[in-house]
């Protein structure tokens, strides 16, 4: 499969490392000059940017967190005057208050080029008809991938999210060859196809690029089977750029982080210490080319590890192991740890079809409570009442064993959730609000 930017993607490590330190130094100097937050952070912590002589020296600089961004909304993190900002997106707010993210014209060019690298790497080219089924709007997914696909010369169908039937109709009628969406939306599409008796052979789909939420290998094979495609993972985080920070290549063996634009570190989320290759921890990213909003050691909350062995594809850029969870996926309720994905897995087993759910954690005099909201679609309605009750009690029973208390299970109308395919918070933690 092709390589979009041979010079950079296959660059030898020494040269790549040199470019990284060059750009890191310039980034630190610009951040100090132009962003009051960083000027204060550096002076408070005795950081002299020009003393940063290697990428390893980054470890002395404190992290930037989402809370820092929230505190400086909307524009205080911008390193350029507002008139230089060509576009504004905001983070989806899966985990709280949305934060504004700005792009200059050059930032947007880089963004498009990085996405094109990933498209090339998985064999999507200018002959493809790409259906972008990520939400268009403040969320960076839709417009970002739209831009990347156009940059690479593909035909773009900007369907955005919404009714699953419409997605399938367009896919079939317009001979879509590639689907870009969240993995859960792709599951929905696969499910509706099955229900309507549409076989994947009737479509011209061949590849898909999925991201914006953690997904497992199991989900990958389900998507591949139901849609008859090869599914690839793409990673991004709105605060840093959006989709395209890293992406898989044809070998599906980790996601290449584009190191000429980002420095990736893995840290122990508790101690903040930098971890070595192969060790699992929180991903911390530093931007190297971002004009609008340089971020230094930004804590992403995503749990992964760095794979430092060379990839078979020949790209020299390091890889992230697949991100299967976020730090915030771990909920501690009444002192017991439970991962959101464990609950998701349980729901997956209970209902044979993909269901949308939301976990609400609250606190009263008795202590913490967990409420599980499950979307009731037309399909679930036809289910027998008795089987409902049975599922409800099984969920309660299984979780009570884990949690030492019984959670509440509630079936809710689809209107509780945003349109299909859009991101929404899986967890709403109301405890801090009431504290």
């Amino acid at each position: 499969m092709g390589v979009c930017n041979t010079e950079i993607e296959l660059m030898n490590r020494d040269e790549l490392d040199l470019i990284k330190i060059e750009r890191l130094q310039a980034t630190l100097n610009r951040a100090e000059n132009n962003v009051p937050f960083y000027r204060d952070l550096f002076s408070k912590n005795g950081i002299v940017p020009e003393k940063v002589r290697s990428v390893g020296d980054l470890a002395n600089i404190p992290f930037t967190t989402r809370d820092d961004l929230v505190e400086h909304q909307p524009y205080e993190f911008f390193a350029v005057p507002l008139r230089d900002i060509a576009r504004i997106h905001s983070s989806s707010g899966t985990t709280g208050t949305p934060v504004v993210v700005g792009y200059t014209r050059n930032d947007r060019k880089h963004w498009a080029e990085l996405l094109a690298r990933t498209l090339c790497a998985v064999g999507i080219d200018s002959t493809d008809i790409v259906q972008v089924s990520f939400a268009y709007g403040l969320f960076s997914g839709g417009f970002g991938l739209d831009m990347g696909a156009e940059y690479m010369g593909a035909t773009v169908i900007p369907v955005s999210v919404g009714e699953v039937e419409q997605q399938i109709r367009i896919m079939r009628d317009y001979h879509t060859t590639c689907l870009f969406s969240t993995p859960s939306y792709a599951m929905q599409i696969g499910h509706v196809m099955k229900k309507k008796g549409i076989r994947s052979q009737e479509l011209t789909l061949r590849k898909g690029l999925f991201g914006a939420e953690p997904w497992s290998e199991d989900v990958r094979s389900k998507i591949e089977q139901s849609l008859g495609i090869v599914a690839y993972d793409i990673y991004g985080i709105s605060e840093i750029m959006g989709p395209g920070v890293a992406g898989e290549c044809e070998y599906k063996d980790g996601l290449h982080v584009w190191e000429d634009h980002f420095i990736a570190e893995i840290i122990d989320p508790e101690s903040g210490n930098v971890l070595g290759p192969g060790e699992k921890g929180e991903l911390v990213l530093t931007t190297l080319t971002r004009e609008s909003m340089p971020l230094i050691r930004y804590k992403t909350g995503d749990i992964t590890s760095l794979l430092d062995k060379p990839c078979k594809c020949g790209r020299t850029h390091t890889r992230l192991s697949r991100i299967t969870s976020r730090k915030t996926d771990l909920i501690i309720i009444r002192g017991v740890n439970i991962y959101i994905r464990d609950i998701e897995e349980l729901l997956g087993k209970m209902f044979e079809i993909p269901v949308r759910y939301q976990l609400v954690v609250s606190r009263d005099d008795q202590g913490d409570n967990l409420e599980i909201l499950i979307e009731v679609t037309g399909e679930l309605f036809t289910d027998e009442m008795r089987s409902y009750r049975h599922k409800e009690s099984t969920i309660k029973h299984v979780l009570a064993g884990r949690l030492s208390f019984e959670p509440t299970v509630r079936f809710v109308e689809p209107s509780h959730f945003p349109p299909q395919g859009e991101k929404y918070p899986r967890l709403v933690d109301k405890r801090n609000a009431t504290d």
Partner: protein, 242 residues
């Protein structure tokens, strides 16, 4: 080809470079832009071995050339065309050019190269027997440039080739830079005139008070409104008035 890592330079106690890291690959034209006193010329002088108090690394093809005598550095393939037309005033144009080839012994080749310089700068050919001191400012700049080329350098360092010259002369000099760029020469260009520099170079670094604050391809930097405001003298507010 040329790698500079964490370079610091001092004039007495004043720190002119605060740890800059830059590189130039073979066949590239790279420019350093920035205001007066940003450290551009200091960087060239450090590479050429003209500064005593430097720290960091300067590597030519992986070998350190730090603390090497300037004449040895020329021998290694780095030639600098200085700012302010430092030519040998009492010598004629031909002798000035021959001096540029002092590290080479082949006289035939030297003669051939002189002809090549005369092709690049026809004005110098016309004045081949004139004393350098009698040349105009622009011609002296051309001579300094030509003399640097005479050592057949792997890397040519050009220091402010446009400073103090009339627009027509600047145009001539830059068309020569374009020409030798097409021939595949590697050039590190220092310019206060960012517009010119970005036009001719592949990449550029922006220096501010001894530090690199921005780098990128020249086409990117031309797009950057930061650069436009600070160095290109154009304002994005302009269109509002028109």
């Amino acid at each position: 080809m040329l790698v500079i890592k964490n370079l610091e330079a001092y004039y007495d106690r004043i720190q002119a470079l605060k740890g800059i890291t830059i590189h130039i690959s073979k066949g590239e034209v790279v420019s350093l832009i920035g205001a007066n006193g940003a450290g551009k010329t200091t960087t060239l002088h450090a590479i050429s071995g003209l500064l005593k108090h430097i720290e960091g690394e300067i590597l030519l093809d992986g070998r350190s050339i730090k603390n090497t005598a300037p004449e040895k550095i020329v021998g290694m393939g780095i030639a600098q065309s200085p700012e302010g037309r430092h030519v040998f005033a009492p010598l004629d144009v031909l002798d000035n050019l021959r001096l540029g080839a002092y590290i080479r012994s082949d006289r035939q080749e030297t003669a051939r190269d002189i002809e090549w310089i005369f092709e690049l700068f026809p004005r110098l050919a016309e004045r081949r027997n004139n004393l350098a001191g009698t040349l105009s400012g622009g011609e002296q700049q051309m001579l300094a440039f030509g003399r640097a080329l005479m050592s057949r350098p792997k890397i040519l360092l050009l220091d402010e080739p446009s400073t103090g010259l009339a627009p027509l002369i600047i145009k001539e000099i830059y068309s020569v830079i374009e020409q030798i760029k097409r021939d595949g020469k590697t050039i590190l260009l220092v310019e206060q005139n960012a517009k010119l520099a970005l036009k001719v170079s592949d990449r550029a670094y922006v220096l501010e008070t001894g530090k690199v604050v921005l780098s990128g391809t020249s086409s990117e930097l031309v797009q950057s409104q930061d650069i436009q405001r600070a160095y290109l003298g154009s304002s994005v507010d302009g269109f509002l008035g028109k």
